[in-house]
Amino acid sequence: MDDKQLAKELRAIVGQRFVLTDPSELRPYECDGNTIFKKLPRAVVLPGNTEEVARVVRLLARNGIPFIPRGAGTGLSSGVVPTDGEVMIGLARMTRLLEVDLRNHRAVVEAGHTNLKLTQVVQDKGFYYAPDPSSQPACTIGGNVAENAGGAHCLKYGVTTNHVLGVALVTWDGEILHLGGKALDSPGYDLVGLMVGSEGTMGIVTEVTVRLLRKPQGFKTVMALFDSVSQASDAVSGVIAAGMIPGALEIMDKNAIIAVERGPFRVGYPEGQEAVLLIDVDGLGVGLNSQAEAILEICRQAGCTEVRIARTPEERGRWWANRKCAFGAAGKLAPNYAVQDGVIPRSKLTEVLAQVYAIGRKYDLTIANVFHAGDGNLHPLICYDEKVPGIVEKVLKAGSEILAACVRAGGTISGEHGIGIEKMADMNEVFTPDDLAAQKAVHDVLDPHDLCNPGKIFPAAAAEAMAGS
């Protein structure tokens, strides 16, 4: 089918305005939040509801045209970057809140509903949606499902998969399936679990049934400053060893602090500060004070130079807004950044971070670290200027070396950003060819002709994609 005919038939389904074909107009769809890998899609189509998605997919499948689902494009692993002539199916128009059932702590949203907005809708009633990736003001719940997104507060509350109970799935050939439901554990195989984190390679999730949680009765947020990241890491281990499970345990290192303090969401951390640790404890009001006191003491013992508890909800809000915009503030360090997502055992934080810094020195690259210390989920932001010839190759090499170091320490290559194109080659670090073949066999049941977001996750395709980018 030629481009003209394709556009005409897509427009017949979704309307004139919501099909983009002009190459100039397709440019903003060439990448996601990771700007290293770029490629134009063949066309972009933005359906308005599940039925339209199914009709679009049927049209494409009939003609053997591969497709990529895309939420807000805030992903960081190039999971929505085309490899060869895919049509992009944007879900950003599908933002409806289909149902809120507060008595049973459930909500049903369309895939394009943004994460934070769900909390905003129910917070007056004392509820919230727990997974909180830093991009939550913009990212979609559909995208969160695709990547099994995490966030600062997943230490205590779990990642997306712990909060998704059902999905509507448009299969590779345009059939609409409803998997799972409102029950906490649906009978039969956990197909919902299979979908969460499948990165759009098994069909398109168009509706999601999620759990809502009661807002904790109280919060205490502790901020502690340290002269070294290793002291801050010691404090993290101390808190966990004391038997507490805080909502979040977050560390930023010197470069990350410089970035956020240069941006508009500054807290006022001292200049040249080596490390800041943010700890949220929440739950029943009773006992929060003693927990916070114990944490203050652990931080002091670990050698902090300053530690205190947020005095007001506004102050707590400022601390968290500052932390959550750390990636976006990387623009204050360099025009581009690539972020890694390695996971390590918490006990290896200091050791692996030393290796991260060494890799930075080796390649002469500035690396800012901001990480979910409680989960051992590192986010080294490798800063660079894409205009410098040859630098992207260096950034990619440094990134892979960092992931290899995580794996050597007993960890793995991704905590919450997904594999996408970016980490395909690194899959070989953690899986044998047999492992990968087994996973591919599962994939092929649901996408037998490789039409659903092809060229992602599985490293066999890595070389081709890299060559084409």
Binding site: L20, P28, G33, C139, C325, K332, P335
Partner: protein
């Protein structure tokens, strides 16, 4: 290839594509199209500058659809000044653009012939006033000479009986003890369309111990020309205002329109490359204060007359996002006894007015206005207080088109009422 100025390039480089600006962008929220978001437009402009993207009609459509509301700037972790980028790009693209004969004539007529020339603007407004008084506008709708929307727009923009400049002298002394020496910017459209608000503003300033001078030689701030990309015209107007206002030798330059205020505060940038004006422009810009910003900072005289109304405050984009002024207007309103400030959902989302946007992009402007009016209805407010002439006109249009029946006024109008009937206040009633 699009050649951008240094300031735009610096800001483009600071964008790392995180997408925090997506969801706050009114046009993206409306359409879900990346090209119609701040990040998407930055990506287009970046690629236009790199020569990768051509300024095709489709691309220009996406850039044209931007409201320039700058909500994206408020959400940007890297502090990217998107307004600088889009205005620069638009200005430069304008030169290579083929617009229709009439489009060019109409633009030039207003940008160069009317807004910068107060006398002409007043004559035109007088004409419009007669058209409205004789109900010729309604006749024109009946005869289908103009669309119903155009007529509703004109109806929302009823020209008051007197212009601000008909009433305001060049100098109004402080009432009571003199505390400050200020100069008042009466604006171009504000002068003729919102004379009563301007008069109220001067009265409120005088009541707060301000000697107010109103330089006669002032002109339009240049914002309209600036936003349409005509930087040269904007600079001419800026120089004239700088000369006029610095001569007045005031401590502060006060403005009651958010859009103009944002432009006035940017004079330093606008004239940075003009050696004979750069210093004066910075001096001027440093003195500019929005009226609510000024009042909130000076411990205003407490108003005593109760205004027992439920009031919703609609943030003006160029106040909240452009100048970071959010708390001050609310603080000023909360001084008024009896006034109940109610919560307005999405109060810092653009109403669709955006300069001449509601005229050149009626479809999107209406969609945003409809949403705004439904939030206003849900707020239960009797009055909507605004801080900008454009928002006032647009929301009045909203009341007519979609309801609810709320009164739309400027913050200082309410404050003026609360000061108005004070005992011993022997001043004349204006407007």
């Amino acid at each position: 290839m699009l050649q951008l100025r240094e300031l735009s390039r610096v800001n483009l480089e600071a964008c790392v594509h995180c997408g925090f600006c997506l969801e706050v962008c009114p046009t993206y929220r409306e359409l879900g199209i990346e090209d119609d978001s701040a990040r998407g437009r930055i990506h287009l402009i970046r690629n236009l500058a790199a020569g990768v993207v051509e300024p095709t009609p489709k691309v220009l459509e996406h850039l044209d659809l931007c409201l320039d509301c700058r909500a994206c700037e408020s959400s940007c972790p890297s502090g990217v000044k998107y307004g600088v980028i889009i205005e620069d790009a638009r200005g430069r693209l304008e030169k290579g653009r083929r617009r229709s004969f009439w489009d060019v004539r109409v633009r030039n007529f207003f940008m160069k012939g009317v807004f910068p020339r107060p006398a002409r603007l007043r004559s035109l407004a007088r004409g419009l006033r007669w058209v409205q008084r004789l109900k010729l506008d309604r006749a024109a709708v009946k005869l289908r000479l103009v669309s119903r929307r155009t007529a509703a727009l004109a109806d929302a923009a009823r020209v008051p009986g007197r212009f601000g400049s008909d009433v305001l002298p060049e100098f109004v002394p402080a009432r009571g003890l003199r505390r400050y020496k200020v100069a008042f910017v009466q604006g171009c459209v504000s002068d003729v369309m919102f004379g009563p608000t301007n008069i109220a503003t001067v009265r409120v300033l005088a009541a707060n111990g301000c000697d107010v001078s109103i330089p006669a030689g002032q002109t339009c701030c240049g914002g309209l020309a600036f936003h349409c990309g005509d930087l040269e015209q904007a600079r001419r107007q800026a120089r004239q205002n700088i000369d006029e206002f610095l001569r007045a030798d005031a401590e502060y330059i006060i403005i009651n329109a958010a859009g103009c205020g944002a432009t006035l505060k940017e004079y330093g940038d606008l004239l940075a490359e003009d050696p004979s004006y750069a210093g004066k422009a910075r001096e001027f810009a440093a003195k500019v204060r929005d009226v609510s910003e000024f009042l909130a900072a000076i411990e205003p005289a407490p108003p005593t007359v109760p205004v027992p109304l439920k009031v919703a405050y609609q943030d003006a984009c160029h106040l909240a996002h452009g100048q970071g002024i959010r708390l001050q207007p609310r603080k000023v309103l909360s001084l008024i006894p009896g006034l109940q400030l109610v919560n307005l959902a999405e109060s810092d989302t653009c109403c669709g007015s955006a300069g001449v946007y509601n005229i050149v992009q009626p479809e999107m402007a209406d969609a945003l206005l409809r949403k705004k009016m439904s939030h206003i209805a849900a707020s239960g407010a009797q009055v909507v207080a605004v801080a900008n002439a454009g928002c006032m006109m647009q929301l009045r249009l909203g009341v007519r088109q979609y309801g609810p029946e709320v009164e739309v006024v400027h913050i200082v109008d309410l404050l003026d009422r609360a000061y108005a009937a004070e005992p011993g206040d022997g001043r004349e009633q204006h407007g």
